[in-house]
Amino acid sequence: MEEFASDTDSDYASYWRDWFISSKGNEYFCEIDEDYLTDRFNLTGLNTEVQYYQHALDLVTDVFDMEVDDDMREQIEKSARHLYGLVHARYIVTTRGLAKMMEKYKQGVFGKCPRVICESQHLLPMGQNDTANASHVKLYCAKCEDIYNPKSSRHNQIDGAYFGTSFHNILFQVYPALVPVKTQRRYEPRLYGFRVHASAALMRWQEERRDEMKERLRARGMDTGFDAEEEEADEEGDGEIGDEGEEDGLDDMFEVGGGMAQTQIVQ
């Protein structure tokens, strides 16, 4: 972040937000509307969180025109970034913010899920805390519903509070069509084609939990959200837990041998 001091010396006055959004490492942020920033209601409570609040706000809204020395400018810049992040967390759960973030999500700006079975599902940024300086930003995968560390060290430095704990969940509540179809496929550790007992036992246990959940959902007439084909295979297999289908693409060579190593629990 050192380079920014020299950058801003020359053109800090114009479009601070443009610069901030386009600078390297800030790809996760979307641009906050001017009128959202200038509405004091939206900034409630932030004046206690941010040092040099007024100067920082002026800088963010491009009305900062005070002559200050470099050290002070550095401080104010730092505060401005912090302020922007905190407002960002509030902004992205508004209708307009959500729409902007959804666009970025569709473009895959936030990266792809590293989990092999998720097949490059796009991720969403999130924080594990809503208070600043508690944790760095994480990435949420809607397919496996788990959170991952960003692979770039630049992104690993961003405060998680700039996105918040609720944003990604709200996004899917507002745009339920974006929720990806879940998959029951999974990786199965194998030794010369045979499943290993310890992990296989755990997976059978997990799959029992899954089937209970599906029963609960069906009892309420809910959609389970899993791939329909997989579910059908599941039904037909009657307790097979869709095993053969789960290995598509993975463990291809074991599909035949798999029959031998088949260890099913009785449903």
Partner: protein, 520 residues
């Protein structure tokens, strides 16, 4: 990395002599010296392009800290000449060049006078393993490769097997039958001269000129075969004692990276394949902490074939080193300890006490030292209560009943009481229970269940538990009616257990779960 003042170089690799040596020629100087036009061969490679590419790439891959010497030109040429080369190979060659290029200009002059074979001191295997993108590979011992038994069946899988094997072992081809250049009469003499007179530019250039022909056609094919062969040998090697030891060292040093999953707390991962057949999947990373596979974060590994590691290695590794700590070690309160005991963790809502557990007898048992052949602390320590992401909106958990509610918790779950995974014991218990009630002898029903029961017997067969044998013996007595009874019994116990689990997962937390925005 980029030395602008390095002169343009032409590089020729020679694999025909005992060691693959790399000749580097300063074109301008050579031309002066020899009054001879040294026409750049197809495969020649210039330092200038190279640097440029590195600069571009390092810009692109900056965030991954990767500098990939990729020579697109070579690729294109190979395609034109009808050769199919996977990027890894050309990358391999170029990195070898790159190494050879680290000679300053002064040294270069000397090199031209002196023999250049001194640069080629490292073996093909060394060179291969130190290439960018090949960091996951272990160095297969030559004695392993020299044992024909270890190579059984590979001959049919790899084209130009013999040449490839020779390349890997840095052996000079015994019969020079594929010498394409017959114009020179003293063919055999020349072969010797090539080795002896390497110091002299004239002989050098003659030999080099001859080598160009070979380079353009065979070398790239052999190189790709050698890489494939090495990979397949590697797959076998890393399941051998020496190989797995070498991989263990690499693992301990964190050469393979860490699990990207937040709740694995940086557990170390292991490279695995999802297929044993080459050309199907690239290498993946297996996390022992969540028993899942991930794509390597760096794109340079996208060219490495998963079959070069194989499906077996991951499992075998952790079975070979059962005492190895697989859990992550990052900040939050000792994850391993809390994961193996049914205590509640700060981020999780409080759980019902042990008293509400359906199997009070089980609670009396302490957590076992071993469960299904592994220590509980090494059985997926990154899963289970406290390590499952819980979606929340403004602090309220999103209900499972919501349209967008959590559906994948099962994937990261793990019983708080690890005894629940002891299927052998549970089966034995349920069988005991089944012995008491009157037996139902419905033969038709029995047949229906036969298949499933067999499956179950097999299951028990595979168990490493000491009582597995005994259970198995009983099962094979073939009292199907009895088995059936057991089955139903087990099912019931299962259900009962399940219901209590529900309570644990959903009913806790003082009813904070809300159903949000269900209507859409």
């Amino acid at each position: 990395m980029a030395n602008a003042d390095v002169p343009t170089l032409e590089i020729v690799i020679d694999y025909t002599c005992d060691r693959p040596h790399i000749d580097i020629k300063n074109t301008a100087k050579l031309a002066q010296r020899m009054n001879k036009n040294f026409a750049p061969a197809e495969d020649d490679f210039t330092r200038g392009e190279f640097d440029q590419e590195i600069d571009e790439l390092s810009e692109e891959e900056d965030e991954e800290q990767a500098i990939i010497p990729s020579d697109a030109d070579k690729d294109n040429q190979a395609e034109e000449s009808g050769l199919v080369i996977r990027p890894g190979i050309t990358r391999g060659l170029s990195a070898a060049f790159e190494k050879a290029c680290r000679i300053d200009e002064v040294a270069l002059d000397e090199e031209l006078e002196m023999s250049s074979s001194s640069q080629a001191a490292e073996t093909w295997i060394n060179a291969f393993c130190s290439l960018t993108g090949h960091e996951y590979f272990a160095e297969v011992g030559e004695d392993f490769i020299e044992d024909d038994f270890n190579l059984t069946g590979l001959q049919s899988q790899v084209p130009m097997y013999k040449e490839a094997l020779e390349m890997i072992l840095d052996v000079e081809p015994e019969d020079a039958t594929d010498e394409e250049d017959d114009e020179e009469e003293d063919d055999e003499d020349d072969e010797e001269m090539q080795v002896m007179d390497r110091g002299y530019p004239d002989a050098e250039s003659r030999a080099a000129a001859r080598r160009h022909l070979r380079l353009a056609s065979d070398l790239s094919v052999i190189e790709s075969s050698a890489e494939m062969l090495y990979g397949l040998i590697h797959q076998r090697f890393i399941t051998s004692r020496a190989g797995i030891q070498q991989m263990a060292e690499k693992y301990e040093m964190g050469h393979f990276g860490h699990c990207p999953r937040v709740y694995c707390h940086g557990a170390k991962v292991l490279p695995v394949g999802c297929s044993d057949i080459p050309g199907q999947e690239t290498v993946k990373l297996f996390c022992p902490s969540c028993l899942d596979v991930y794509t390597p974060p760096n794109s340079r590994f996208q060219t490495v074939d998963g079959a070069f590691f194989g499906t077996t290695f991951g499992c075998l590794f952790f079975m070979t080193f059962p005492d190895m700590d697989v859990g992550g070690t990052k900040p939050p309160p000792p994850i391993e300890a809390s994961a193996s005991t049914p205590t509640s963790q700060p981020p999780m809502p409080p759980q019902p006490g042990p008293s509400s557990h359906p199997h009070p007898t089980q609670q009396a048992y302490p957590q076992p030292d071993m469960i299904n052949g592994v220590t509980p602390k090494n059985l997926a320590p990154g899963l289970g209560p406290g390590n499952i992401y819980e979606p929340r909106i403004y602090g309220f958990r999103v209900s499972e009943v919501s349209k967008t509610g959590p559906r994948m918790k099962w994937l990261r779950s793990r019983p708080a009481d690890i005894n629940e995974l002891d299927e052998c014991r549970m089966w034995a218990e349920s069988q005991e229970a089944a012995l008491t009630p009157a037996q139902l002898g419905d033969s038709e029903m029995v047949e229906e269940n036969e298949e499933i029961d067999d499956g179950e017997v097999e299951d028990e067969d595979m168990a490493v538990e000491p009582n597995g044998e005994e259970v198995d013996g009983e099962a094979q007595e073939g009292d199907y009616a009895q088995l059936r009874e057991v089955t139903t019994q087990r099912k019931k116990t299962g259900r009962r257990r399940n219901r209590s689990h529900d309570v644990m997962v959903n009913g806790s937390g003082g009813g904070t779960a809300v159903r949000v925005g269900d209507g859409g």
